[in-house]
Each structure stands twice: as C-alpha cells, then as structure tokens.
C-alpha cells in the first residue's frame, strides 16, 4: 500500500475536534429519541441499498438452489412431504377444536373474534448487534403498515414495527434490549412482562418473586394488555427458573417460540380490533 508523506496540520487540534463532534453526536442522540421522523427519514434514504440487498439475497438463494445436488433436493422434498403429512393430520382436528372453542366461549358469554388480516413480507436488511436487534422488511406505509404493529413468524410473535417509510418498515425483535411485551402463562391469568436482553435465544421475565408459579416448560402467550398485541399469541417457553441466595426475585429465562435466529418470512398482523373497519 502506498504511504505517501502527508500533512496533518489542521486549524483546530484533533482532540478539540473530537470533543466538539462528540458533543454534536450526543445532542443528536438525545434529539433523535424524541423525534422518530429522523429514523423514518433514514429508512427512506436506505431504499436503494435495501433494494440492492433484496437483489443480492434473491441471487444468493437462486444460486444456492441451482448448486444444490439432486440428493439434497430429494431429501428436502421428502422432509417437506413428511411435514405436510403431519400438518394434514393436525388439520383434521381443527374443526373439532373450533366447535369446542365456540361452545366454551358461549358458556363464558363471550363472542369469538376472527384472528385478523395477515400480510407476508421478506427481510431486506438486518442489524443484530448486542444492543439493537432490528430487521427491515419490504412492506411499508403503502401497504398499510403502522408503528406498533405486531410481527409474527412461524412459531409465534417476533416483535413489533418501530419505524415505517413508504416502502419499508423496521421491526424491533423481542430480543432487543428496549423490547418489553405484556404476557401471561397459557391457561393462566398472572400478568407478567417478557423483556429482551440482547440475545436471540433467550428472553427474560423480570420482577418475579422467588415463589413464582412459573416453571420450566410453562408456555407464555401475549396477554393483550396495552392493546398492541392481541391476546393468546405464542411468545415463548420458560426455560430456566433460578433462585439465587439472597436475591428477592427469581431469574427466569424464556426461549422465544419463533426461531429469531432463522427468520425468513415475516407475517404482519392487523388485529381485528384495529383498521378492520376501513379494510
């Protein structure tokens, strides 16, 4: 590499420039938190790069499929057939369960609600750093996506929309440090929170007393509190419950129901209670 002689003379010393730019950065960081339109502007600005990303991803997928051997394709085909067969068997039980659910709701004097509209989107970019865990998808306000909208993947909830531009939306995953979702055990009514802790494989349940009823294997679903997520969506399964000596709270880790580390197709949910009148 050429390393020519260069002049480093500057009107202001480097340290002073660093301090000044640091002050401007800090001011901008504080300002951006209260002004989400800045993030929206950034997402609009990123449109060409996101488009290029989707082209590279599609070419990569097409290339890897083309290079896949016949044996691998046959094995994948057999695996898919097996899963289809299992789903068909599960499907047989659905009408019975629906009828049973209707009867139970009638007994409770409640009315069944339809699950709401769902749109499929693809991931165009990802930022999975230790603190900020977000993905960008190829659906935006043009498709009716809104801030706070629930996002799902096969298995359960993965997070919620935090920024929307015309053609794209950014989703903060359950594992993001700023994520906190009202939940409850499946079949129970004890309100809890499921927080992200910067780890795609482990969420946490804070402030649970040492004699908590949560045990490993307990399934957690959204409680519907706050009105952002409809109740009953699968969130995760309690993996460990530790009671350390002297600590007032139990330390609970939860494995997300959806595999956050292998996201491909995202489902955006329009709950029946919102936007349903004009769709």
């Amino acid at each position: 590499m050429p390393m020519p002689g260069m002049s480093l003379s500057r009107p202001l010393p480097s340290l002073l420039r660093l301090v000044l730019l640091g002050a401007v950065s800090a001011a901008l960081s504080f300002y951006s938190v209260g002004h989400p339109n800045l993030q929206q502007f950034g997402l609009s600005l990123a449109r060409p790069i996101l488009w290029l990303n989707s082209q590279v991803r599609d070419a990569w997928l097409a290339g890897s499929q083309y290079l896949q051997g016949q044996a691998a394709l046959q094995s994948e085909n057999a695996d898919l057939r097996q899963r289809l067969h299992a789903l068909e068997i599960q499907d047989l039980a659905l009408p019975v369960l629906r009828a049973e659910n209707r009867q139970l709701l009638a007994l409770l004097d409640s009315f069944p609600t339809a699950p709401g509209r769902v749109t499929v989107a693809q991931i165009e970019a990802q930022s999975l750093l230790a603190g900020s865990q977000q993905i960008t998808i190829n659906a935006g306000s043009a498709e009716g996506v809104y801030v706070g909208q629930p996002a799902l993947a096969p298995g359960g909830v993965i997070g919620q929309v935090v920024t929307v531009s015309c053609d794209n939306a950014r989703i903060s995953l359950l594992s993001d440090l700023s994520s906190s979702i009202p939940a409850q055990p499946l079949g129970g009514d004890e309100p809890i929170l499921v927080d992200g802790q910067g780890n795609l494989q482990a969420l946490s349940v804070p402030f649970q007393s040492r004699d908590t009823k949560l045990v490993p294997g307990t399934e957690l679903v959204t409680s519907g509190l706050g009105g952002r997520f409809p109740p009953g969506l699968p969130l995760g399964v309690v993996e460990t419950v530790e009671r350390k000596n002297g600590g007032p709270f139990a330390q609970i880790t939860v494995r997300p129901s959806a595999n956050l580390a292998a996201l491909n197709t995202i489902l955006l949910l329009w709950p029946q209670t919102r936007h349903s009148s004009n769709r």
Binding site: M1, P2, M3, P4, G5, M6, S7, L8, R10, S14, L15, R17, L18, L21, G22, V24, S25, A26, L28, S29, F30, Y31, S32, V33, L38, Q39, F41, G42, L43, L45, A46, I49, L50, L52, N53, V56, R57, W60, I123, E124, A125, Q126, S127, L128, L129, A130, G131, S132, Q134, I135, T136, T163, R170, L177, S178, Q197, G198, N199, L200, A261
Partner: protein, 158 residues
C-alpha cells in the same frame, strides 16, 4: 481516490453491512465502512476531514437504524487514533500493522457499543471482539485488492 470510486466503495460497504444473511453474518462480519476509511486514510496524500468521516458515520447510523451519532463519533475517534500514531504505523512491519488495525477497529467497535449508554442499557456480546479480529485478518487481502485496482485503473486515483 476519486469521488466516484469512493461513492461506489462506500455503497458496497453499506451493502455488506446490512445483508440479511442471518445472525452469524450480522454479528461476526467486520465493519466494512471502518476498513474502507482506514484504507482511504492510509493511502491518501491529504489528511481526511473529521467532519466528512462523521457525516459518513451518521449516514451509516441512519441506514442501519442505530442510535444517531454512535457510528459517527466512533469512526472519528478511530481516525484520530490513526493520525496520532500515523508516523509510527508506517515504520511497523506488516504483521505488526495488523495488530494496530485490530486495535483501531476494536476501539471503533467498543465506542459504537458503549455510546447508547447515554440513553439506555447495553449488553455485552463476544462478537464485539471477533468482528475486529476478522477485519484485521481481512486487511492484507483488502489492501492488496484495492492496491491492484488502483494500479490497473489509474483513473481511480485523483
């Protein structure tokens, strides 16, 4: 380097930063924008403007949805550290330069990681060390490729 070549270089770097190739790629890939700035600073006859580098970092923050200012100030700090030891770096044998590149990338990464502490808690991840190590390991290949490009296409130079 010409403005057009730099534009294409940074566009590619931003693209590589955000490719949706899963968590392993997202957490382990080196910071390509930082690597390109280091190459640009070391091969340029003029000192780079801190404000320009800050603006490039700000653009990266906007594009990736990170906290505004985090990447911007971390890239400026990396450049200040590079220019502080610039003359010493030039005299280092190549393998020792790799350690210095690793140190610069690590300083940049840790600054960008610590910056959000201004507003919210942060979490440690071992990938914070692996990215700079991979960046340093890629450095000889990257400089060789970019040097060759400049030799074959002299019009890329100013």
């Amino acid at each position: 380097m010409k403005a057009g070549a730099l534009f294409v270089g940074f566009l590619l770097a931003f693209l590589l930063e955000s490719l949706p190739f899963g968590p392993l790629y997202a957490q382990l890939h080196p910071d390509f924008v930082a690597l390109l700035i280091l190459y640009w600073a070391l091969s340029s006859e003029q000192a780079l403007s801190y404000v320009l580098i800050w603006l490039i970092g700000l653009l990266q923050d906007l594009l990736l949805g990170d906290l505004l200012g985090a990447q911007a100030i971390s890239l400026v700090l990396m450049l200040v550290l590079l220019y502080t030891w610039m003359n010493r770096v030039r005299r280092l044998p190549p393998w020792e330069q790799l350690f210095f590149i690793f140190f610069l990338l690590l300083a940049q990464q840790l600054t960008a990681w610590l910056w959000p502490l201004l507003l919210r808690p942060i979490a440690w991840h071992n990938a914070l060390l692996i990215g700079p190590a991979l960046g340093a390991a890629l450095w000889p290949l990257l400089t060789y490729l970019l040097d060759q490009m400049q030799r074959h296409w002299p019009q890329l130079r100013r």
